[in-house]
């Protein structure tokens, strides 16, 4: 245990050296000084209070922490804040304008693409990434794209339908 103490003191010294980062989050320029160990998800949630991005695991498996980094969905729990330096980050809060819903959000609401809703922000962000590169995905392509997002409650089918609606392949009901 005393070894652990020494190790932590040493690590602390390194970790204390803060790095200045400058990035755009949901269209707003942001500058901050962060510890090198700070994860992007910590930065978004704790520094910017953007708590729509969730943490469901720590093994990059669940996808509840997905955000768009320069337009590409990434797992913000395994991205360091310093890696986002100079980048543009979009979180669930920044997907649509104030008082408006993005068609993907509209679709998840229409198609009951959620139950507890904890996975929903990550699902919506993953969908945005998918539809940006493939506007009319097949059902198989949709399910492929979700291979990195867990839903424990409601079992995916309504999520797939939500994405079909968002891509104009299913009418709202």
């Amino acid at each position: 245990m005393s070894n652990a103490g020494i190790k932590f003191t040493f690590l602390n010294r390194i970790c204390m050296i803060k790095h200045k980062i400058s990035l755009t989050v949901n269209g707003q320029k942001t500058e901050a000084e962060v510890e090198p160990r700070m994860l992007l998800v910590q930065f978004l949630r704790e520094e910017l209070s953007l708590t729509g991005t969730h943490v469901g695991c720590d093994t990059s498996s669940c996808g509840t922490c997905n955000v768009l980094l320069n337009g590409i969905p990434v797992k913000s729990c395994t991205t360091l804040a310093v890696q986002a330096d100079g980048a543009s980050v979009t979180t669930i809060e920044g997907l649509a304008g104030h008082d408006a819903l993005h068609p993907i959000q509209e679709a998840f609401r229409d198609q009951h693409g959620l139950q507890c809703g904890f996975c929903t922000p990550g699902m919506v962000i993953t969908t945005k990434g998918l539809l940006d590169r493939n506007p009319k995905p097949t059902e198989a392509e949709i399910r492929d794209a979700l291979e990195g997002n867990f839903c424990r409650c409601t079992g995916y089918h309504n999520i797939v339908r939500s994405i079909q609606q968002a891509s104009g392949q299913l009418s709202s009901s």
């Binding site: 708590t51 729509g52 469901g56 498996s61 669930i92 009951h112 809703g117 979700l146």
Partner: protein, 775 residues
Amino acid sequence: MDKRKEIFPHGIPGHNLGEIEREIPNDEPPAWPINDKLKVVGKRIRRNDALAKVTGSAKYTSDIQLPGMLYAKMLRANVPHAKILSIDTSKAERHPGVRAVHVFTSDDEGSKYQDVKYAGQPLAGVAADSLDIAKEAVALIEVEYETMPFVIDTEEAMKEGAPLVYEEPIGEQTDGGDVGVTHDGSEGKGNLRGPTTSSFLGGARGDLDQGFSEADVILDRTYRTQVHTHVPLETHGVVIDWKPDQMTVYASTQSTKGVRDGLASYFDLPKNKVRVICEFMGGGFGAKHSAGTFGPMAAELSRKSGRPVWLMLDRKEEHIAEGNRPNSIHHLKIGAKKDGTLTAIQQKSHGTAGVALGAGVGRIAQGLYTCPNFSTEQYDVLTHAGPGAAWRAPGNVQGAYGLEQAIDEIADMLKTDPLVLREKIDPSEVRKVLRQRGAKSFGWKYRPPGSDTGRIKKGIGVAQSTWPRFVNLDSTVEVKMYSDGTVEVRSGVQDIGTGTKTILAQVVAEELGLKAEDITVRIGDTIFPDAPGSGGSIVTGAITPPARNAAYLVKQKLFNQVAPQLETEPSMLTVSDGMIMHKEDASKKISMRDALRRMRTGQIEASASRSDDYGGFQQPWGLAYGDLGSVQFAEVSVDTETGFVKVERITAAHSCGRPLNISQIESQVNGGVIQGVSYALYESRVMDNKTGHMMNANVDQYRMPYAKEIPDIDIVLVEEYSARSSTDAYGIGEPANIATAAAVANAVYNAIGVRLYEIPMTPASILKALNKVEQ
């Protein structure tokens, strides 16, 4: 209380729908007709919490941020069984950024600390300026253990001389959501506790020897299931702000009342000094009924620091310490006559809920089929592993996995279609309809086991379940109407994600002639009236009747004020499409909005509690029994070269009384079925018996399905009216999950002609089973 008689719809539309007269309390509303005559109830209504959830504005417990809030982390034992000689927190206390440290101590004489009973047991906690600092400080706490022998494996723990988990008798240790599982912890030999020999259905019946002597065939089998963890995507946790006048608790819980009562009792506080809030929560499945150990820890740290404390568990802690579905070694001996009549069922089971109790296999074998001779012995086996907790139909999922395969095997022995056999032995009228409509939708055409040729073999299977119509009379709802037209529903009940908030809006809207979106629902806060935890599929049947009844009462109050204005009697008024109108004279009407604006006071309100079931179904143990059925059909394909099983499709035929929101029910059934498929094929807690640690305490190696791996799901929903309350509605959370694993197991057998007797059915276990055939 004064009563009156009302005529209610009764039975199943398209099958035996009729009417029945019930005596009901005078302050409850007249019967609703069946759903096709209603406007809001029984329809596909969008969820009223969806907007907050799709925009990220929904604040889950883990999202709560309060001024001055600290982050906390707990230290957990890294050995499975030990006495603690010392815990030194001095280095942690000196660590920069640490604001409070707390160590759990013992009240027992002779030892300062509680003994460690499983690897992962919480010992101490630290609150600090950041989670990283709290984690560092936890690593600085020094613990001196005197380790002791331990036992992890269930069958090893049953042996004489195995290391004991408890020297002393232990009491009830299971969660509030547990129903009908092993409870008897007062006596036992070694690590065994029990047996449980009865349930609320009664105890042993008939004469087993006589029953077996009358049998033409006797099946004698053992079925095994694994330990299965809940894995809600939001872990357990709280944010606690303990101020002198009140402890405010934000909790990810399925029982605001349970957390409040637990903390009030732990700290000897009056209940009104503890306020528990759960507006949104990220799944629970049975594991989140109480304040756990993290609740008292966060409260202690808040008290010591004078600051709000955030304490959410990480994924590993969630797996090892916050509940699981116990495993089962389930022995069934069943006798049957040539015509299928069951003559005897003898059940014996063992299972481990680790350091807790609750490993019974439920009432499925006792209650599903007609059989005059029955006995059961269900034992808990204590092991040095994390405590089990209620998990979606506790015990019954393991129970159905055994029984429904046994019935399948008997059908095989009698060379009959298993669906036909069930028609013969199942007394339930509801399941008769579920079988008919389910089989038609599935396209059930029985084929003999192993008859498919080729490398990839397809098979079909069926399994059934039963679940009681539990209610809880401590369920109260208040409905308020404001002069600006606002209508608000208030209750302490929480929405675990199933859509409770939405169905409350629906039943109130239906009663008041409004739209569901006109109703504001404020729930999940103990400042509102008490309501039950979200467990046992209780909530819908418990909370929607008082919601409707309170709306009815507040409507009568409004009618009393409106009637003079319309020059009529209150009893002559009715509501429809936002209007209050005279029942016979269409010219006499006023909009609800105008009526509210002209009220004498700024608001009117009424509250109502769940009354006893109409028809006297109430049982002495506080719950009304009745049958909520399910019949599930599965088709699988098995690759006999790789051992890979794919569940191609499931038809899930269900009843839940009067359906309130079809889309939400479908969501529940989809989720239940997929959890069942995952239980049958993928998930399993893997323990290292040498160290006592869980080896796959993450969601990487603890396998769960993604969107590609799930079957097509066809839902057959049967409306069924039993006239027991003003909404006649029930939940479907548990029924959705009970039969799936058994149906899949029967389908795998049907495909390959070999039965596995154990889940999960991994490729390795399939190949092993097939090699046996070849030998």
